[in-house]
Subunit: 342 residues, 2 copies
């Protein structure tokens, strides 16, 4: 039965599926009856989860009851057991040293611009933003360093400026609302962020090339977009042994795609991956959710009740022979068969 | 000055060094006067740290006082700031669900065989052993699964058997003392471990090929040994979407070597790296430390006072087209210019 669905998935929706994919989805259904949580727990691409649930409904193994996904037979599945640290929510870092800055940030961010689908936005929890800074600081990538953020609806630039740790904070974003919000908030709190409206589909100009020690970005996860965003991040760096941070999710990228992205990092760009932290980035449910492909695909058409969209935090470091990518890109770089929220 | 040492390091000891390497070592000296802690904090290969300290002594920037390493001038260096979670020691997982098993293990392991240099041994703390199991369980790689451990002075096999989670636990080790200790301890606690004496330089035979869902190993970090150990681990697996766990350290591997090892994983073996957890594995100081090259190289000739040897936990997952390596290997596979404890 599993083999059957595994094979048809690839044919019908173009996503490579494995018996373990199906087993993880069934296991997730044993832990939750909520579609979004099932996607979260299973760690399989959302379109695949939706497809598998529909096939299992067809076959009579599960049923949809008032938007709930319920097993009708006791199928075998891989049930995850949590041992996540309650103190740091599994991230391994705490933000105690930034208590005051975090409070200020919480206050400011209440007025933040809402997430816009047009720009593939969707921001992380404030705790994620600060944990990211704590992690990067622990790695030596923040203190006294020049830092650039390429696309910043997470407001990392603002949080970073509030800590006064970096020697320079620069932000590029396509969205004037973000640029204005960060500039205004920074100014009113007496901290510095150089914020520029910039469309990353264009090549970076020399104002931003080879100037920074550390970059943060959150690339769309098609191979083309990934290459463009990370390649530009690398182009901002001064040289060897500088660092880059970004997220890759399981929600929109199968492990086959993960491997492709890792190959881009190691073989195309010649960088080394130093850290991969599962589910480090936790996203707040965005307001445009019911206009996404994810909603279209969801068998239940329910509201997400918990923060189900997460991504792994990647850290890379450049070596002496790293390469960059700064060519112009065109067309729809945001969508492939595995994406569903862009 | 930094550039000068950077260049001579490569010429004199054959390890690729960067200005940031030197800066991290100087920063570490600002945090500690103990050689072993400086290696730990700097995250640079031990032979390079020793070399840089000697050059800085030559130039009069630091001095050795009663085995302490002390800066004589206020050099600029990258000082790390810790934000590590105190509850899980930065690992992100806790072992509360295994309290009883952990206590039993603590009792048993008091009689464990001491680490032998001949076999490149050196074991992790019991907390590391159990955290590794907790992490793998969270990933769905343990419960009801068939698990093999290739080389096990960390006693993962025994800990795992005590938890009763896996459906099968198999252990291969070159050291009869480990095999006997685990067999005897397992038997006396009424749990099952199939333990075999096996030299991993030989190809695995069909008793162990394509039988398992998950493997654990701890490869020596020359590229040849790494390829052999991971290749054999992969050869034990049933097929796609199975998992492997192992450590890679910064103490004996530069980031240039890390990139080579990652290329082996992604390009040679065709697997995907899903997790890299910095400093997850913490080693107990081994008894033969003063016969190692690390001791020879250490400018201070002091005893390590803290657990300074750590490694990152890697998790990989197989995809449909992964490859294995099961050829015989010969000669000294344990040493290269960056190694110092084998």
């Amino acid at each position: 039965m599993l083999d059957d669905i595994t094979r048809s998935a690839e044919r019908d929706i173009g996503i490579k599926a494995y018996p373990r994919s199906i087993s993880r989805i069934i296991g997730a259904i044993k832990s939750s009856d909520d579609f979004w949580e099932i996607v979260d727990i299973s760690d399989e691409p959302l379109p695949l989860v939706a497809y598998v649930i529909e096939r299992l409904v067809d076959k009579g193994f599960i049923e949809l009851k008032n938007g709930k996904i319920v097993l009708r037979e006791d199928l075998e599945g891989e049930v995850s057991q949590w041992h996540k640290c309650f103190e740091c929510d599994g991230r391994g870092v705490i933000i105690d040293d930034f208590k005051k800055e975090f409070e200020t940030f919480m206050e400011i961010q209440r007025e933040r611009p809402s997430a816009k689908k047009e720009f593939d936005q969707g921001y992380v929890t404030p705790l994620t933003t600060f944990s990211r800074i704590a992690y990067a600081d622990q790695k030596g990538d923040i203190r006294g360093k020049e830092v650039i953020i390429l696309g910043d609806d997470d407001l990392v630039s603002l949080a970073l400026a509030l800590t006064h740790l970096a020697s320079r904070v620069v932000l590029l974003d396509i969205d004037k609302r973000i640029v204005d919000f960060v500039s205004k908030s920074a100014r009113s709190h007496g901290v510095d962020v150089e914020a520029h409206v910039f469309d990353l589909r264009n090549p970076l100009d020399e104002r931003f090339l080879h100037q920074f020690d550390t970059f943060f970005t959150d690339p769309p996860e098609t191979v083309t977009a990934f290459k463009a965003f990370i390649g530009r991040g690398l182009a901002t760096l001064k040289g060897a042994r500088n660092a880059g941070y970004f997220g890759i999710t399981r929600r929109e990228s199968s492990l086959n795609k993960w491997r492709e992205l890792e190959k881009v990092l190691i073989s195309d760009f010649g960088v080394v991956i130093t850290d991969i932290l599962h589910n480090f980035n936790v996203y707040v449910n965005w307001e445009y959710w019911d206009t996404t492909r994810a909603y279209d695909l969801s068998p239940s058409k329910t509201h997400p009740k918990t923060n189900w969209y997460k991504s792994a935090l990647f850290r890379i470091e450049t070596l002496e022979d790293f390469r960059i990518f700064n060519d112009p890109i065109e067309g729809d770089i945001y969508n492939d068969v595995e994406s569903s929220t862009t």
